[in-house]
């Protein structure tokens, strides 16, 4: 088991004929990821890395049963591509590109909610369920199948956390990159709930950073969770971020600093990790043993 993607996921690559799409399709396939189709309007019928290309997502789904999509397209085309995937019935849409307009991401989230789809990103390194699926652009070296779920706003932090968990013998169930953009398709809230439901996941590591509100609003979810949550927040020693005018201050209140985030998460029962090495120590304290001795 894993969350979001596992070995049964049938994956479609939107923008498979582009340089990035082609490159990462090859990488993902080498990992064993089950890529069943690609799309590129006007290029239906072509073959890329042994994968059949279709003109539309709907056509590709009808032909291959794809249920998960990953987008490799320039930012200005992402809104349409994501909405196409959502409307066609994709359960999961992973948005790799960065610099997606905020209004577009808001609209994507709206459509995703309306049709019961999950969108991850933009500006995400993707999702990996080690040994099963590598969906996105993550390096596979850091990951090994195990019992801890991770969710992070940053790609590099995802790698470091997995590296730590792998080296200490815990391994990972699924590692989710939320993405680095200011408005995201999914938040800590959404992913934590999935980990709580996943029988294979025994604890969750969440890594946030200064800015935004997605850490603070996960508070109630963490409070309701039975599984241990370890939280790491980057930026304790960073200068405070800027507010978006008076309106930002009114809407987001005091949220957004590393301190407010840590306080919110700790008050909900999450255990704070200052460095990656704190993570295995906190897991042990929570009574969770490694899968194998490291």
């Amino acid at each position: 088991m894993a969350i979001l993607v596992d070995k049964d996921s049938k994956i479609l690559v939107q923008g498979i004929t582009g340089t990035a799409g082609r490159f990462h399709t090859k990488r993902m396939k080498e990992y064993g990821t089950n890529i069943v189709a690609g799309t590129s309007p006007g290029k239906g019928g072509e073959i890329v890395e042994d994968v059949a290309v279709y003109d539309t997502v709907e056509f590709a789904m009808d032909s291959t049963g794809a249920d998960t999509s990953v987008i490799f397209l320039p930012a200005q085309f992402v809104k349409e591509a994501a909405i196409e995937a959502i409307w066609a019935g994709m359960k999961l849409v992973v948005v790799i590109p960065e610099h997606i307009p905020i209004f577009d991401m808001m609209e994507i989230r709206k459509e995703a909610k309306r049709y019961g789809s999950t969108v991850i990103g933009g500006n995400t390194p993707g999702i990996i369920s080690p040994g099963q699926v590598n969906l996105g652009i993550m390096p596979d070296i850091a990951f090994k199948r195990g019992k801890i779920g991770t969710v992070s706003r940053s790609g590099s932090i995802t790698y470091y956390v997995a590296d730590t968990l792998t080296r200490t013998g815990y391994g990972e169930t699924t590692c989710v990159g939320l993405g680095g953009d200011p408005v995201l398709g999914s938040t800590f809230n959404d992913i934590l709930k999935m980990f709580e439901e996943d029988p294979e996941t025994e604890a969750v590591v969440m890594c946030g950073e200064i800015g935004g509100v997605y850490e603070e609003i996960a508070r109630d979810t963490i409070q309701r969770m039975k599984k241990p949550v370890i939280a790491m927040i980057g930026g304790v020693h960073a200068p405070p971020g800027k507010r978006m005018g008076h309106a930002g201050a009114i809407v987001e209140g005091s949220m957004g600093t590393a301190r407010t985030k840590l306080k919110a998460l700790e008050s909900a029962g999450a255990k704070p990790a200052k460095t990656f090495l704190d993570i295995p120590r906190l897991l042990k304290e929570a009574g969770i043993e490694p899968v194998e001795e490291s």
């Binding site: 930012a75 200005q76 960065e98 610099h99 997606i100 307009p101 905020i102 209004f103 577009d104 808001m106 609209e107 989230r109 709206k110 390194p125 652009i137 993550m138 390096p139 070296i141 850091a142 992070s152 706003r153 940053s154 790609g155 590099s156 932090i157 790698y159 470091y160 590296d163 730590t164 080296r167 680095g180 200011p182 408005v183 890594c207 950073e209 200064i210 935004g212 509100v213 997605y214 603070e216 609003i217 790491m232 980057g234 930026g235 304790v236 020693h237 960073a238 978006m244 005018g245 008076h246 309106a247 930002g248 201050a249 009114i250 809407v251 987001e252 200052k274 460095t275 990656f276 090495l277």
Partner: protein
């Protein structure tokens, strides 16, 4: 991306919002003339990309053209909140009966556009909002919504406007919302919205931030001269240099040069150095798949910074591959040379090729590698951070 007040007012005016009709000036003489044309009194407003101008001396009232000239000379010569003053907007002096607040922004937690209004505006609006949350009204909209006039009227009623004033303010609310939608804004704000003694409603100040990532679909902004710009205050010479080379870089007051990979670890690596008793000399984002040339330039920037006593390097190759990283470091070592001790760790995508490149280069010119310690996945990144702190202390 923040707009100047005079630019924001241009956009507001297009949507029918009454704004003060100011004159944009670039010299004290122009300011003097502008005030003369306003019957001898005027507000001098420094056009800078920062809020809190008033308290920082960026807004002055001139009671005569002569005073205007003198104030302008001082203002043009000074910096306000770290910004040089290149333009002054000369506005008429309003007879203020009351100040209101209106703003539109994104509520990221709820994924809504939110319209905010308060019957008490001006510089202390944030404190007022904290103390009187019920007197600050909000209305949420879907991202795809337009605003209907009846919604604007309803909001105006909440702010306690009636009759002719309600009509005026409802039209301003609609204009503000439409501006927000029309230009992919992150923020559109009128503070204060002034009710004059003469009974008019007028936007005395204007603040707009647009989403940089949506600029591609707003050629109309470029036509108005509104293009991508740096938002921060005055940069250090090194920050300017980095910016010219397209490197996201920020000076800090420590002595460890940070070459950390992606922005996420840039922030965390900085924390680590602090936890282990060190002080970083900078923030830097060296992720996102930079070329070897760019990586080499980043290292030059750190090596030439006299504050830097040691360099901390890290690469977890994702979209940025280790072979490119190794090429960049080798290029720097060969073409420029390392004058400080450096410790680094490299793992991730294509790490084998990265290691091979380092081995090859070391065999060729072992002297280049005398000051650099290169680690792989076997060493925890925390140990690298500790070692960097040690190296910096030794170097003092």
């Amino acid at each position: 991306m923040r707009l100047f007040e005079f630019e924001a007012k241009q956009l507001f005016k297009k949507q029918g919002i009454p704004v003060t009709e100011g004159t944009l000036c670039e010299t004290p003489a122009e300011v003097r003339n502008a005030v003369m044309n306003l019957d001898g009194r005027g507000m001098l407003k420094a056009q800078i990309l920062s809020g809190g101008r008033g308290k920082a001396g960026g807004i002055k009232m001139a009671e005569s053209p002569e005073e205007a000239n003198d104030l302008a000379e001082i203002m043009f010569d000074s910096e306000v909140k770290g910004y040089p003053v290149e333009k002054i907007l000369v506005d008429p002096v309003l007879n203020i009966r009351r100040e209101y607040y209106l703003g539109v922004t994104i509520d990221r937690a709820k994924y809504k556009i939110v319209l905010i209004g308060s019957p008490t505006g001006g510089v202390d609006i944030e404190e007022f909002a904290r103390k009187n949350p019920k007197k600050v009204f909000r209305e949420a909209f879907e991202i795809t919504d337009d605003i209907y006039s009846f919604e604007a009227y309803g909001f105006g009623l909440q702010l306690n406007f009636r009759k002719e004033k309600l009509k005026q303010v409802s039209s301003i609310i609609q204009g503000l919302f439409k501006t927000f939608k029309a230009y992919d804004c992150k923020l559109a704000e009128i503070n204060p919205l002034v009710e004059t003694e003469e009974g008019d409603m007028i936007a005395a100040d204007a603040r707009i931030s647009v989403d940089d990532d949506a600029l591609f679909r707003h050629p109309e902004l470029a036509e108005m001269g509104i293009e991508k710009r740096h938002e921060e205050g005055e940069m250090t010479p090194r920050e300017k240099e980095a910016r010219e080379q397209g490197i996201p870089y920020l000076d800090l007051d420590g002595n460890i040069g940070m070459f950390p990979g992606g922005a996420g670890f840039g922030i965390v690596g900085n924390d680590f150095i602090n936890y282990y008793g060190g002080k970083p000399a900078n923030f830097m984002d060296s992720g996102g798949g930079p070329s070897p040339e760019r990586l080499a330039k980043m290292l030059v920037l750190l090596d030439e910074n006299p504050n830097v006593k040691a360099i901390f390097g890290a690469r977890f190759g994702g979209i940025s591959r280790c072979d490119d990283f190794a090429k960049g470091v080798i290029m720097f070592l060969k073409d420029h040379g390392l004058s400080k001790p450096m410790v680094m760790r490299m793992t991730g995508n294509n790490w084998e090729e990265g290691v091979r490149l380092f081995d090859e280069a070391r065999k060729e010119s072992p002297e280049l590698f005398e000051r650099i310690e290169i680690h792989g996945i076997e060493t925890p990144i925390e140990d690298i951070a500790k070692r960097a702190v040690e190296l910096a202390k030794e170097a003092k």
